[in-house]
């Protein structure tokens, strides 16, 4: 049930943000400080999400097969691989290491 609630709350919040952009007078959101935060916000959140999902385990941090997978994904990104390839490289690297009994 809480998953459905999270989906509903997020959907409502995301929709209202989109609608607000189309509806409010431009001067309300178009202040330099607000725009700078809006540029920084996705960068900060995506970086935090990537870091936490790579290293967090219940109660702390760990270096395991996920880190190797994300490292391989970074190499794929540097080589300009498309999104699906990047994600697949990460999954295959982690899966391969675990099949070998590492991480």
């Amino acid at each position: 049930m809480s998953t459905w609630l999270a989906i509903a709350v997020t959907a409502l919040g995301c929709y209202l943000l989109k609608l607000a952009g189309l509806s409010v007078p431009e001067r309300v959101l178009d202040r330099p400080r607000v725009r700078a935060v809006a540029v920084a916000l996705p960068v900060a959140l995506l970086a935090a999400l990537a870091a936490v999902q790579t290293f967090a385990v219940p109660g702390g941090l760990a270096l395991d097969a996920r880190a190797a997978g994300v490292g391989a994904a970074a190499v794929a990104l540097a080589l300009r691989a498309p999104f699906l390839v990047v994600v697949a490289v990460a999954a295959l690297t982690a899966a391969g290491l675990r099949a070998l009994g590492v991480g």
């Binding site: 989906i7 189309l22 995506l46 999400l49 870091a51 702390g60 699906l84 675990r98």
Partner: protein
């Protein structure tokens, strides 16, 4: 300067680009579907996420935080904050498209990275930018949701998510969404500070809180490095 193309040629070019963008985002949709069910969402929940939230970064954030054991509130807060950029896209589009009434209520759901970029790319002509917005938004909506369903069905028939490395696919997806935004020193500094701060908080706060704290990094950075961050956004919009 080449002569201005006729409307027919321009119309075909816009529609072809819209379809191309839709197919490309379908690849993200496939991985979202697979990751959604691997994270423990049901098929219906995974598909509802793509229909109702319909903004990729927020969807990955919601699923990622829930999968890591985060509670409803931190998961939703992180996801909604990640969708805040759409408000600024809407602001740009409100001037270009001047939507009123029902078209505004429906069009709002289609305000995403891709439809905004396409409308801005055709900003010089009123008909072209409207067509670019609606055709790209609808193409991405249809293909994103079909791909989510396909990915979720495939994910269901796969086995143990850990043995398949899907727990490494989630952070890799975030890194892939982040990568094209790291265009200058200011954004790279924001990313490093947010990642480091979140990792330091992991051992001492409940799941989901470290990601919410990253929003504070963005607020502080917006004040400290305002001009550097806006210099980047002006380039991106040009």
């Amino acid at each position: 300067m080449t002569p201005a193309p006729t409307w027919q040629r321009r119309r075909r070019a816009v529609l072809r680009d819209a379809l191309g963008v839709g197919v490309a985002t379908g690849a993200y949709g496939l991985s979202f579907g697979a990751i959604g069910v691997a994270a423990g969402l049901t098929l219906a929940q995974t598909c509802a996420t793509s229909v109702l939230i319909f903004t990729g970064g927020s969807q990955f954030a919601l699923v990622g935080v829930l999968a890591a054991g985060g509670a409803t509130v931190p998961a939703s807060v992180a996801a909604v904050l990640l969708g805040a950029r759409n408000a600024l896209y809407g602001l740009r589009l409100s001037v270009l498209l001047r939507l009123r009434g029902l078209p505004r209520v429906v069009g709002a759901q289609l305000v995403i990275d891709e439809s905004t970029a396409m409308a801005l790319a055709h900003a010089d002509d009123d008909r072209a930018r409207r067509l670019a917005f609606w055709s790209t938004g609808l193409a991405v909506f249809v293909l994103w949701n079909l791909a989510t369903l396909g990915g979720a069905l495939a994910g269901q028939s796969l086995g143990d998510p850990r043995a398949l490395g899907l727990d490494a696919a989630v952070p890799a997806a975030f890194l892939a969404l982040l990568w094209p935004r790291l265009t200058d020193r200011a954004t790279r500094a924001v990313a490093a500070a947010a990642a480091l701060g979140a990792l330091l908080l992991v051992p001492v706060t409940p799941a989901g809180v470290p990601v919410m704290a990253a929003a504070l990094v963005a607020v502080v950075a917006g004040a400290l490095w305002r001009d550097a961050l806006l210099g980047r956004s002006r380039e991106a919009a040009a």
